[in-house]
Symmetry: C2
DNA sequence: TGGAGTGACCGTAACGGTTCAGAACCAATT
DNA sequence: AATTGGTTCTGAACCGTTACGGTCACTCCA
């Protein structure tokens, strides 16, 4: 029976024909994939854990790029890709337990997320992305800290010393406003924590008291958040010469806000982003490009690679500083006197 | 055992504690989802069949909107969403057979696609989107024919009689060029067939010989294709006053080409699209908006709705004609004389 | 003609859960 | 003391497949 469908060489054409004919007559719909999976111990699919409203994954360009890369890797391998329903509201971890998959990819979830814990309990290989090294799982990501450090040095070399920072959600609780240094260190999103650490290091080395640098956080990740956050920083600290955003989306929002205030970029205010999404490129944003699609593809490859899985592997992809047209040396008061505002 | 995990009320707390403790000591990782699925006959996931390189789904705004809507419906229901690897190259239908899912959503595949046939053989509920009514499955879509008919009438009312058409892939074979009326009728993509039929009807009624109207097809769906197709039409028929595209993406490409040729839109050339994507709105395109996100959500709801599944249901969503700034009455020769070109 | 070798076919035992019938137990009622 | 009722617990059947070993018939060669 099974052979008739899956191993035609194991039986005579005649018998095969008879079996298939009878099966059809009896209304047999072909082998049941679930039973097959149980027997062969292969589900033929990998799960993607996102802990974010799924629409986020489809609207955020960086997440979308990752998703595409992962999907490509799965397609190459002929494997299904299962999106696990795990919104942040829903504490319900059952979906993770119920998923019939051969492995998980975990994309940028807070390190205290219960879904992540549930995934790690499952006895299947896992690849985490944009997370610190944890447990016995593979990892793929970039060196967020160094990348941001480099960007900061770029600004420092231009002469920026009074800066403000706009960052994404640092933990699962909503905190739309200023961020203490403690909260920065305790951030549960590795990516954000690392980027802030890179900034802190660079500016501290340049003699700037980091604890005095205004850092504001936004829970939602869209341009409206970027606008509001930028407004908050500029209201309290109109004298800053640069606004460093930890994502391009936030930076694009900040650009809008600057424009609304009549601030010229970069003459009056330098704005930088992070990610290197297409919209940022169009806007000429100074930012750090990271290979989001490659990240997804690498995660998929790592998970689907049947090779030796002796010890956890860690893949670091490289980033590139994009010097756009939104960063320039701050004009000094003296210059303002000479050339006018 | 099972009860300890899933039905705490069926046994004493003491026993439950003991069972769980022992399980942990023995390194038992919790119930196996696949075995559970086999027994309960529920996989907790729905499959999405796209027959298109998966990256298409993540790059094309309309497909992306559909995907988002579907994902939202799945998230609401706590169901997983599995992307089935079925690129057009790969004739391999095994992935459809192997997918452990409770149902399928089929999005805009040619009606002779082997993957579609494989899905229909599976004894699980199926919802097709942007397809004609087939077999015993639910359907969700729009009335492409009427929507396009309405758009055509809008142009006809403006006075357009000499028009050209740019359409998407009509079948699985690549045919980048002119399309015979036969091929139009035989198109395997229902959506494209219906839209062309709507145009043919409207223009025939207006006294235009449809068989003389240039219709060019492009296999790939991106702005570059739109540009090339528009060029092809304009090269052969410089006298057309309107270029009707069956998607916004193609229309945006056509706009680029018009600009390159120094043709003003809409003064020299009217261009229309179809879909109502955001980029089109920004460009002020005259187009037909269809509720892509709602389409995805409706498909998901239909599939996940446990209600009576006696006979196939068919959901038609409504569309809206968007009168943008890319369509206007054609200028007559007389007008040209008066006002200059 | 006998024995080994070959290929086709068939029967059965897992895979790991869920479910359900019934056993075992205890308490309350007749 | 025996019956009844109710709860907690145990064991076995079943879901549908694949892997594997065994049977059987047949051929080939000595």
């Amino acid at each position: 029976m099974s052979n008739a469908y899956n191993r035609p060489d194991q039986l005579s054409p005649e018998l095969r024909r008879r079996v298939l004919e009878t099966a059809r007559r009896l209304g047999y719909p072909g082998p049941d994939p679930v039973a097959r999976s149980l027997r062969t111990r292969k589900a033929g699919a990998v799960g993607l854990l996102l802990t974010e409203n799924l629409s986020y994954a489809f609207r955020d360009p960086a997440a979308l790029g990752f998703l595409e890369g992962l999907a490509l890797a799965c397609e190459d391998a002929g494997t299904g890709l299962m999106l696990i329903p795990a919104s942040p509201e829903r504490e319900d971890v059952a979906a993770v337990h119920r998923a019939g998959v051969d492995g998980f990819v975990v994309y940028s979830v807070p390190d205290d997320d219960p879904h992540l814990a549930a995934v790690l309990e499952r006895p299947v290989p896992t690849v985490v992305c944009d997370q610190p090294d944890i447990g016995n799982v593979d990892r793929v990501g970039i060196d967020d800290r160094s990348a941001m450090y480099e960007l900061a040095q770029h600004l420092i070399a231009m002469g920026h010393r009074r800066v403000g920072v706009v960052c994404m959600r640092l933990a699962r609780d909503r905190n739309d406003g200023y961020v203490s240094v403690d909260r920065q260190h305790a951030a549960h999103f590795h990516v954000q924590r690392a980027r802030l650490a890179g900034l802190a290091m660079a500016f501290s080395e340049a003699g700037v008291d980091w604890s005095k640098v205004p850092v504001v956080e936004r829970f939602d990740h869209n341009t409206a958040s970027g606008e509001a956050a930028a407004a908050q920083v500029l209201d309290r600290d109109p004298s800053i010469t640069a606004l460093i955003c930890t994502s391009d989306i936030l930076a694009l929002g900040a650009m809008n806000e600057a424009k609304r205030r009549g601030l010229r970029v970069p003459e009056d205010l330098t704005i930088t982003g992070f990610d290197g999404i297409q919209e940022a490129e169009r806007a000429g944003l100074t930012t750090v490009r990271q290979p989001v699609l490659e990240k997804g593809r690498a995660a998929g490859k790592l998970l689907l690679d049947v090779g030796e899985r002796t010890r956890p592997r860690s893949v670091n992809l490289s980033t590139e500083l994009i010097t756009g047209t939104t960063a320039a040396a701050p004009r000094t008061i003296a210059e303002e006197r000479w050339f006018g505002p």
